[in-house]
Amino acid sequence: MSVSERLHPGVNLGATDPESHEAAEEVVFGFWIFLMSDLVLFAVLFATYAAMSVQGIAGGPAPAEVFDLTAAFVETLLLLLSSFAFGFAMLAMKYRENARSVLAWLLATGVLGAAFVGMELHDYYVMITAHGAPPQASGFLSAYYLLTGTHALHVSSGLVWMVIMAVQIAVFGLNTAVKLRLMRLALFWHMLDVVWIGIFTFVYLFGVVS
């Protein structure tokens, strides 16, 4: 097995750190299995939402009346840019082992992610106060808050994880354990962006079109 070979999803350390590269294969693949099972959870929530958004209006507000597409678009950009920033954090870790620039990119990622969560909470606030659309109003809204809320909760735990990793980088430096944890966090973060593609398309855009 050569060190230049790619062993797992995400950024591979390869020849820049052969020892960590070898160690990464197993743990990253294990984490990949977790991510796939997490996707199954989201799939079930998507299926519930798909059924509820058509059949579960229950005389309450319809999707097109309560969704703010502009907000959804900005949220999409925030999450996409934050995913991109994490990619550059990983490259700074791989090629330069420069803790300072890794931390700077992580900070950018975290700020964009926090802005995303903040905007979503603001969306909820507007929906509940201005549109009279709290979770208990209809099956559609219960499913909506459950699906987007689960995603927002995932993003929030990603942010907590990011803070913990920043502390670990500061305390331990970029050793093998820290690198492997960052690689898994990167996969988690990118996967949440993939789930968001489903949410902005099947929840927001579909809701406004139909």
């Binding site: 062993l7 799939a43 059949q55 993939v194």
Partner: protein, 114 residues
């Protein structure tokens, strides 16, 4: 696509910082274009009804592939087939669960209409 390196991709794509940065940048630009197209479609009301849903679904599917390829670095090379198999199997499970749920619940919905 052959087994060593995907067609049109330089062999150094994962071996140099420039190559890897380029991969993320390409991913970002493609994702922005696809997202922009999807939202423009709805904002400008370019399509309606089933056609709009179909195009939006297709755009989302392509964007997922772009993210998997450029951000998660999943490709078709032979050295890491396990990841790909896991994704394909998960996709199968997802397809069965989501389409099955929608089918059954919609059918029941129709039967329960007054």
């Amino acid at each position: 696509m052959n087994d060593e390196t995907p067609a049109g991709m330089p062999a150094s794509e994962y071996g140099s910082e420039f190559g890897e940065r380029l991969s993320y940048l390409i991913g970002l630009v493609l994702a922005l274009v696809l997202t922009g197209a999807a939202f423009t479609l709805v904002w400008m009301k370019l399509l309606t009804g089933g056609a709009a849903l179909a195009v939006l679904g297709l755009l989302a599917f392509i964007q997922v592939l772009v993210h998997l390829r450029c951000f998660l670095h999943i490709d078709l090379a032979r050295s890491h087939r396990d990841d790909l198999k896991l994704i394909l199997f998960t996709a199968l499970i997802l397809l069965v669960m989501v389409s099955g749920t929608i089918w059954i619940l919609y059918d029941q919905h129709l039967r329960m209409m007054p």
